[in-house]
């Protein structure tokens, strides 16, 4: 449809309605393309001072700064001129004359704004939730939880997993001999070394235990065996802590050592707690064993149970010792000091 095909009454009617709705203001620019030659329309709505012939158009309207003079036509949609006034600005260049048309689009803009605000709020909220999950569970788990691919129920699921405990040695003494802020700062830089490798090896941080952490491997499907994942996380933790300690020594600062225990075996994974406060947990004999091994590990030492070492084929590589552990009995324990 073109204007020429419209019957005059129809054209006049549509034009009148649109002109009323858009409440246009126009400015004709002088030959220099910068000063106002004449103007018309509902100017009082658009500008704080009425446009006067001879005045600078950019002085009248900040939005025009840098745009004048112009020698082609272009549009600037949805320019907010005042608190509740949005206009489309049409710069029209015809027959060597420049015109500026300001058309009120406030209602349409505010309606779109409401939709946009809701959409943006939802996207930001989702991203924030993703970041929070990412922080506590690692990116891979967070993505699976967000997309519903990882679920646990209260009945529990039996699975072979590896459990790793890591802890700072002599931290109680350090805590008692230093200012609380120093302790907190120190704890955080060691935690950074301990937690990231766990997340990098598809581990889940089950809990942070003051000066250490408990992590489980094998909950997420992986082509790599859970014991291997736990062991590679342990090596990376040791490497990072050694690098940190080297830096601290260079700066003449106090350094701390860590110990790690790893156990592999069947466990029940599930959710425990009341309806309003629930937590993921793993239950199994090897979990207690891993905890005991971590407690026995010396500075810079990784202690593993037999199952872990057998899975890794390291039984001939690492030295073994028989330990009598209270409540568990006699166990063969393998030691590695990277």
């Amino acid at each position: 449809m073109t204007l020429s095909t419209l019957p005059k009454p129809v054209y006049r009617n549509i034009a009148a309605r649109n002109i009323k709705a858009l409440s246009p203001t126009w400015i004709k620019l002088a030959e220099d393309g910068c000063t106002i030659e004449s103007s018309g329309g509902d100017c009082q709505d658009c500008f704080s001072t009425p446009p006067r012939p001879g005045d600078s158009a950019t002085e009248l309207c900040d939005a025009l700064h840098g745009l004048l003079p112009f020698h082609d036509s272009f549009d600037l949609p949805q320019i907010q001129l005042k608190e509740n006034l949005h206009v489309d600005i049409y710069a029209v260049y015809e027959k060597k004359t420049a015109w500026l048309i300001f058309s009120d689009v406030t209602d349409a803009t505010l309606q779109t704004l409401r939709y946009q605000q809701t959409a943006n709020d939802l996207i930001l909220l989702r991203e924030k939730q993703g970041r929070v999950l990412d922080r506590y569970l690692g990116q891979e788990v967070a993505e699976r939880v967000s997309s519903g691919l990882l679920q646990f129920d209260t009945a529990g699921e039996r699975k072979t997993i590896a459990t790793l405990f890591v802890d700072i040695r002599e931290f109680t003494a350090f805590n008692e001999s230093h200012d609380a802020q120093v302790v907190m700062h120190t704890l955080n830089i060691y935690m950074e070394c301990m937690l990231q490798p766990i997340l990098n090896s598809s581990g889940i941080i089950d809990k942070i235990t003051g000066d250490g952490a408990m992590a489980v491997f094998g909950v997420l499907p992986s082509p790599t065996h859970c014991s291997q994942l736990a062991f590679q996380a342990a090596l990376e933790i040791m490497k990072r802590v050694n690098e940190l300690n080297h830096q601290l020594s260079l700066n003449d600062l106090e350094r701390l050592e860590i110990g790690i225990g790893i156990g592999t075996g069947d466990a029940v994974l599930g959710i425990i707690g009341a309806h309003n406060r629930r937590a993921f947990t793993v239950l199994g004999k090897h979990v207690n064993l891993a905890s005991r091994l971590e407690a026995k590990a010396g500075p810079g030492e990784i202690l593993m149970d037999e199952m872990t070492c057998k899975t890794l084929n390291f039984t001939d590589t690492f030295s073994s010792t028989d330990y009598e552990l209270k409540g568990i009995g006699k166990v063969k324990v393998y030691s590695h000091k990277p």
């Binding site: 002085e59 900040d62 700064h65 745009l67 272009f74 549009d75 943006n120």
Partner: protein
């Protein structure tokens, strides 16, 4: 006194670009009005603010075009950049994706932005604990590229410095 009476006053149009929700409007509000609101309000189209200040002994009047952030930068009309003298690119330090979106915007408007000075603001420095960039990545970002400022529209930290840096670039002969 009007601007016409001040021949030495330099007026420049500066466009503020970046993904939605990175804090473009808040940074402008902090710089122009020294105000910050916790509530996130989307911008539609363009909101223009002006700020006069002195830099290196010269008066400058910046017309700040606070351009709405789109999920798809291609929906931002290129005419918004017409007549611009400088660009502020805003990135949200807590949202890694906003850096890539910022880069896409700069690349998408390559023709319009050619030769214009750019300053990058990595915003929300007050939420440093939640940042998704490491200090090494920030360092890499600032090496050999536009100046990078770690800003907080909330506390105002480095906001003025970043705008002043761009203003210095704009008055450079």
């Amino acid at each position: 006194m009007t601007h016409k009476d001040q021949p030495s006053m330099i007026q420049k149009k500066v466009c503020i670009l970046g993904a939605f929700g990175v804090g473009k409007s808040s940074l402008v509000s902090q710089f122009v009005h020294r105000k910050f609101s916790e509530k996130y309000l989307s911008t539609m189209g363009v909101k223009i603010e002006r700020k006069e200040f002195s830099v290196n002994g010269r008066s400058i009047n910046l017309m700040l075009w606070d351009i709405h952030g789109e999920e798809d930068y291609k929906q931002i009309p290129t005419t918004y950049l017409r007549g611009a003298s400088g660009i502020i690119m805003v990135v949200d330090g807590t949202r890694r994706s906003s850096l890539e979106e910022g880069r896409e915007i700069l690349a998408g408007f390559q023709d319009e932005l050619e030769g214009l000075p750019v300053v990058i603001m990595v915003n929300k420095y007050d939420l440093l604990d939640e940042w998704s960039f490491s200090s090494t990545e920030i360092q890499t970002l600032s090496e050999g590229g536009p100046p990078v400022y770690l800003t907080s529209a909330k506390t105002g930290v480095h906001v003025e410095e970043a705008f002043h840096k761009l203003a210095e670039e704009l008055i450079r002969p």
